[in-house]
Every structure is written in structure tokens, then in C-alpha cells.
């Protein structure tokens, strides 16, 4: 299955890309597995944006521009987009 990850703000700056397509062997995966794969691909995300336990406190994830998710067990389905951005929307 494929998941498109879109990065915004600091996560984008750390990874150096605005989006990346990830492949997973099963027909669904989890937020935690996507984050682990991201860190493998972009080690600069570790520690600041992504911790071992999941997203760092200042960051959030959004499925397909719809629901926000933080639970590492949250399901991500084939073809979905996962947006990683700052949880602080203040401006």
C-alpha cells in the first residue's frame, strides 16, 4: 500500500522535501509505522518533530485534510495522505 506524506513548516525544513510517497506491505498501516518510516528516511525529523513514542508535543498529523490524529495506533489506509504540521496554529 502507498501513503503520501505531506510535510509543512519545520518538518518540511528538517526533511528538505515537501512530500514523500511511502510503501507498506499490508493494506493498512498506522500513524506510528508511518512516523517510523519517515524517521528512517529523514533522520533530522527525530528528536524534534518525531519521538519514539510518536509525534513531539508541538506537532500534529492530519489524514487527508480531514481528521487530526495523534494516536500512534490510528489507522492509515492505502492511498491516504498524511499531513505533518505544527500543532500550534497561532499567527
Amino acid at each position: 500500500m502507498n501513503v503520501k506524506v505531506e510535510l509543512f513548516g519545520v518538518p518540511r525544513a528538517r526533511a528538505g522535501v515537501s512530500q514523500v510517497d511511502l510503501e507498506f506491505p499490508d493494506d493498512q498501516t498506522s500513524l506510528g509505522e508511518v512516523l517510523t518510516a519517515l524517521v528512517r528516511m529523514f533522520p533530522n525529523l527525530a528528536g524534534e518533530c518525531i519521538l519514539e513514542a510518536g509525534l513531539a508535543s508541538g506537532y500534529t498529523a492530519n489524514r487527508d485534510g480531514e481528521a487530526f490524529v495523534r494516536d500512534v495506533g490510528a489507522k492509515i489506509l492505502d492511498g491516504q495522505s498524511l499531513l505533518i504540521m505544527s500543532a500550534d496554529a497561532g499567527g
Binding site: 525544513a13 500534529t60 487530526f68 497561532g90 499567527g91
Partner: protein, 609 residues
């Protein structure tokens, strides 16, 4: 009065018609119940009966309010609030800013400066300690705030700090700002109130310092907070600034575009900080006493509005999300140089970028609908935005109508224009599309100063698992209340909201800071109660000024039409009303939003002490 730590124990009441100064004592009980900043400011407005005054009359008071933390070692604490009745909304207005003015102003020996009256001609109020002198300022008429500040500090000395208005404040533009060190107390028209008093600038200096209850512990807490402020919770602000919202909001369909006709903008990438900094040399700055450094300064290229060329090619401008959104996507403008130049022009004139952009975008839609005869004012035309800003600054032609804000312009136009004027209570809506962020929509509707992303942080709920951002429910009301209460505390202490992510246990940590500053044994629960009191006091001011429940709403556009580019982003009048009732009940107010008698009596007893 027993000695106070963190406070001087009173405010200076200054009559700017004659320079007379009176020190008015404030009890420790009142200071503890309203803290400082916005909280103390609303108390002072109730005490001074400001709700009864016409906002631009000589009698209307305007307060510069400091806080117990000003002058102390805590990062971001060099802040002050400007509180008054807004000429834009005719309701309470409180705007905040950071600069040395807070530190110098508090050193005059007062916790606030309350200005009354009006000078006979354009003047500078020079406050040296508790002594006031009015000096003529006719040579500064029409001069930008930046140039006036530089001239005044050169003349009076750099040990003074200045709060200055630009040409827009002098001419009564209802969303004029008060500027200081290039920053603005921006929303709600404080600059017009100062201008109506014929005061071009307030200069302050002094030597009176407050003591701290436990200086060594406070210093240790300050070091700890500074270290946290360098961490990941503030990386967004340091690295990209508030403008980093732009692309994320655009992706979520939450970026107001073409006067809120859409939630995404095709030119967003062109305006993003990632694009801007790729081909422009950006610098960074911090406010006084701040360790975050969120200011991202960009060069401004010369632009020509068709009327007056920008002849200052070396100018720079601070780029914030709000000026970027309001002068860019909201007006359909994707040319970054135009947006930077427009933002710079707002600084020069001394006007609020959100209200300026909102009013211009509204006028553009009126032109599109043939409700307004100004064929040059078209969505997407950056030079038209510049021309409109210049006309606003001079209050010439159409600019005179635009200077009154979108609500007054809509009322003048009639023909249903009010339905798509982008405002609540007269204050233009900031860069959060209400249909895509519906807890924020609730925050906008009930906000005491109108549509406001700084007094309500309800968007935090929309960016979480706690709320469905496109399906407002009464269950969201406590979330909106919580963020509004937290903002009331932060704005009264005063600290920068960009620090909010660094606290692990906000109320306990703030209580600890206040204990070491003031010596008061303050519990987290007392702080929660204080926040609720401050929000209620704001509501009470508005009720005294003529508020009615029908004001707590959004323009019909948001309640009747889904977003054109996201049909699921739809908000009904009934769901908003149900959430408003839940909000009011969560606050302990009547379902319509009236304060209970007991709360009114308690707050007015403080005001009448």
C-alpha cells in the same frame, strides 16, 4: 498600604488638555484580581466609565497598562496593553505590543497610564517620571510613526521610549495603530483614539523600579523559561515565523481567499515563507527581552501604485501570517513584492493590516458585484491594494469610506452588503476561515472585541482530535472557553502567547511565577477564577456600551454558503447558535449571554472601590 512587590500600586491619570497628572491608588486586592495588562485595563475602563463615552471623544479614556512581570527577568515580559473603547466596534478593545515602552513606562512609577481629554493642537505628551509636559508637535503632522519616533528620540534622548501614531491615527482611520520600535498595538483603532486627543506621541522615562518578592527564585525560573523557549515548541516561530501557517492552512482549505469566497489560494506557494526566503535575504529580530525571535524581516522592492511611487527601495518589513494573508490571498494578490510593499505601507501609515486587507477585499467584492463604483479596485491587483491603502491613509475619495472599516462601508452601501462584510462586531476577521475551523468560528462570534484570534485560541481545538473542525457542536464550547481563559491570563500577566507550548502545567507554573514576583500565595484555581473574572469584565463593559445578543454571530455568508472549494465546510446558523448558548452556559451566563447580577455586582464593586 503594605508594600507591594511587582507593582507600584496605582495608575497615572493624565489630562492631556492641560498636562495635569494625578496618581490614583489601586488596592492590592484589585491588582490581585485583575493582575495587569488586559485584565487591569478592563478594570480601569469600568472604573473610568469608558463605556458611556463616544470612542473618539475627548472624554474617552485610553490606557497603557503594564503588568507585574514588566521589568523582571522573564523572557517576553516587556509587554503592555492598550485598552480603550474601540472606534471600529464601539466595544472594548485591548491590543498588546512588546517594546521598551513597557519597561520605561512602568519606571514612571505607575502600573498604568490613563489618558483623558484632548490637546488643543497636535502635541507630544512627555512623561518624565510622574511629571507630564505637553510639547507642540505640529512639525510631525503627517509624518510616519517610524520617522516621528526617530525624530523624537533624537530630540529628547534615547533614555525615553515612545508610542507614536502615524498619519492614519491623526486622520481618524478607525483601525489606526499605535506604533513603537516598529511594532504596533494593532487591532481596534487605538491610534485613532490617540489621534482624537491630538497626541502624536507619548514619551516615557523614569527611575522607579519595583521589587520582586523572591528575586533569586524568579531569576532561576526565568532562566528555566528561557531555555524552554529555545526548544521545539517555538521552532516554528524562530525558523519561519508566523507565516509558516500559510501552506498548512491552504492545504486544509482554511486560508481565507478573495474576501472569504474560498479557503485555498492558487498563489499560496508564491507567498509562502519557504519561497520568499529562497530568493530574498531575510534577517531575524526579537522583541525587547525576548528569547524566541519570531520576527522575520524581508526587503521591500520599490512598487508603484499608479499614484505615488515608493521611493524607499531599501525598506524592510516584518512578515507575519496576518499581514501576508490579509494583503495577499484575501485580496487575491499572489505577487509577493506587492504584498511586502503593502505591508510596509501599512506600517508607514500606522494601520492594522487585518482590517485594512479585510476592508479592501470586501470593497473588491462590492466592485465585482457592481455595488461600488471603483473599477480599478479588482481582486488580484497588487497595485490597486497599494493605491487603496494610500487613499485610506489620506482619507481621500473612496479611502475615506474604507477608513471606516468594512461594517460601516457595508451599512453605507446597503443592498445586502453586510451579509458578506468580513467582520464580527465591526472587527475584520483574521486569517482563519470560520467554515473550515468551526470552533474558531465560535470564538470569533463570542469575542468581546470582535473576530479575534488572539483573545480566543479556539483554533487549537480545531487542530486537535478534540473537535471536528467542520462540524461545530455544543461540546466544543468548553474548549473555546478554555483557550479564551488561558489567553486572558497570558494577556494580563503579560507574556507572549508563543510561549504557551513550553508549559507542562500552565496554571501551576504561572502561579509559581506570580508567587515569586508578588509574594502572593496564588493557587492554580485562583488563576482560573481570575481568568473567568477578566472575561466577564470585558463582557460587562460591552453590555454597558450597548451590547445585545444578536452581535454574537457571524456574517450571513458564513452561515448560508458552504466554502466554494470545500462544500463540506458548511456552518449553519442553528449549530452556531447552539454552540453560543453552550458557551454562555459554560461561563455561567444566561443562555443569551447576559452576566448574572452577582457577577455584575462583584465586578462593579471592584470598579467603584
Amino acid at each position: 498600604m503594605p508594600s507591594l512587590h511587582g507593582y507600584h500600586g496605582g495608575y497615572l491619570r493624565i489630562d492631556v488638555s492641560n498636562g495635569r497628572v494625578e496618581f490614583v491608588q489601586l488596592s492590592a486586592a484589585v491588582l490581585r484580581r485583575y493582575l495587569g495588562g488586559v485584565g487591569l485595563g478592563v478594570h480601569l475602563m469600568l472604573r473610568e466609565r469608558a463605556a458611556e463615552c463616544e470612542a473618539l471623544s475627548a472624554a474617552a479614556p485610553l490606557a497603557f497598562v503594564f503588568s507585574p512581570l514588566v521589568g523582571g527577568p522573564l523572557t517576553t515580559s516587556a509587554k503592555f496593553a492598550v485598552v480603550h473603547k474601540s472606534p471600529l466596534t464601539d466595544r472594548l478593545n485591548d491590543s498588546l505590543a512588546s517594546s521598551g515602552f513597557a519597561i520605561s513606562g512602568k519606571k514612571t512609577g505607575a502600573d498604568a497610564l490613563v489618558l483623558h481629554g484632548a490637546a488643543a493642537s497636535l502635541s507630544v505628551l512627555v512623561l518624565d517620571g510622574r511629571r507630564a509636559v505637553l510639547e507642540p508637535a505640529t512639525e510631525l503632522a503627517g509624518v510616519s510613526a517610524r520617522e516621528a519616533e526617530a525624530a523624537l528620540l533624537k530630540k529628547y534622548g534615547r533614555d525615553f521610549s515612545a508610542a507614536v501614531i502615524g498619519p492614519a491615527g491623526e486622520r481618524g482611520v478607525r483601525y489606526a495603530t499605535i506604533s513603537h520600535s516598529g511594532r504596533h498595538a494593532g487591532r481596534g483603532g487605538a491610534g485613532a483614539v490617540l489621534g482624537a486627543k491630538n497626541i502624536k506621541a507619548v514619551l516615557v522615562r523614569g527611575e522607579r523600579r519595583c521589587t520582586w518578592s523572591n528575586p533569586s527564585s524568579l531569576t532561576a525560573l526565568a532562566k528555566e523559561l528561557s531555555v524552554k523557549s529555545w526548544g521545539p515548541a517555538t521552532a516554528k516561530y524562530r525558523e519561519l515565523g508566523t507565516a509558516s501557517n500559510l501552506l498548512a492552512f491552504n492545504r486544509l482549505g482554511a486560508l481565507p481567499t478573495r474576501n472569504f469566497q474560498a479557503g485555498s489560494f492558487a498563489g499560496a506557494v508564491d507567498l509562502s515563507p519557504e519561497t520568499l526566503e529562497a530568493d530574498r535575504k531575510k534577517t531575524r529580530q526579537s522583541c525587547v527581552a525576548c528569547t524566541i525571535g519570531c520576527e522575520h524581516i524581508y526587503p521591500v522592492k520599490a512598487q508603484n501604485s499608479g499614484d505615488a511611487p515608493n521611493d524607499k527601495p531599501n525598506d524592510t518589513v516584518r512578515l507575519e501570517y496576518e499581514n501576508l494573508f490579509a494583503l495577499g490571498p484575501l485580496c487575491g494578490v499572489r505577487d509577493a513584492d506587492s504584498v511586502l510593499a503593502a505591508s510596509r505601507l501599512c506600517d508607514e501609515l500606522g494601520i492594522d493590516t487585518v482590517s485594512a486587507g479585510g476592508t479592501i477585499a470586501f470593497a473588491m467584492e462590492c466592485v465585482e458585484r457592481q455595488l461600488l463604483d471603483a473599477p480599478w479596485l479588482r481582486f488580484g491587483d497588487g497595485s490597486a491594494v497599494l493605491k487603496a491603502l494610500e487613499l485610506i491613509g489620506r482619507r481621500e475619495g473612496l479611502g475615506d469610506q474604507l477608513a471606516a472599516g468594512s461594517r460601516r462601508l457595508a451599512e453605507r452601501i446597503g443592498q445586502g452588503a453586510l451579509e458578506f462584510a468580513p467582520q464580527v462586531k465591526g472587527l475584520e476577521i483574521p486569517g482563519y476561515e470560520p467554515r473550515a475551523l468551526q470552533t474558531m468560528a465560535l470564538g470569533f462570534a463570542v469575542g468581546s472585541r470582535g473576530a479575534d484570534h488572539n483573545r480566543s485560541g479556539a483554533y487549537e481545538a480545531d487542530f486537535s482530535e478534540q473537535a471536528d473542525r467542520r462540524a461545530l457542536s455544543p461540546k466544543s464550547a468548553p474548549l473555546a472557553v478554555e483557550t479564551e481563559d488561558r489567553a486572558a491570563l497570558i494577556d494580563s500577566l503579560i507574556l507572549c502567547k508563543f510561549l504557551r507550548g513550553v508549559f507542562t502545567d500552565f496554571h501551576s507554573e504561572i502561579a509559581h511565577i506570580l508567587q515569586n514576583t508578588t509574594g502572593w500565595e496564588i493557587s492554580p484555581d485562583e488563576l482560573r477564577e481570575t481568568a473567568r473574572r477578566i472575561v466577564s469584565a470585558k463582557k460587562l463593559f460591552n453590555q454597558q456600551a450597548g451590547w445585545s445578543p444578536s452581535e454574537d454571530t457571524l456574517p450571513q455568508r458564513f452561515l448560508q454558503t458552504p466554502l466554494s472549494d470545500d462544500p463540506r465546510a458548511s456552518l449553519s446558523a442553528s449549530s452556531l447558535q447552539a454552540a453560543i448558548v453552550a458557551y454562555n452556559q459554560t461561563r455561567g451566563w444566561s443562555p443569551e449571554g447576559w452576566l448574572p447580577r452577582r457577577a455584575v455586582d462583584e465586578i462593579m464593586a471592584d470598579a467603584n472601590e
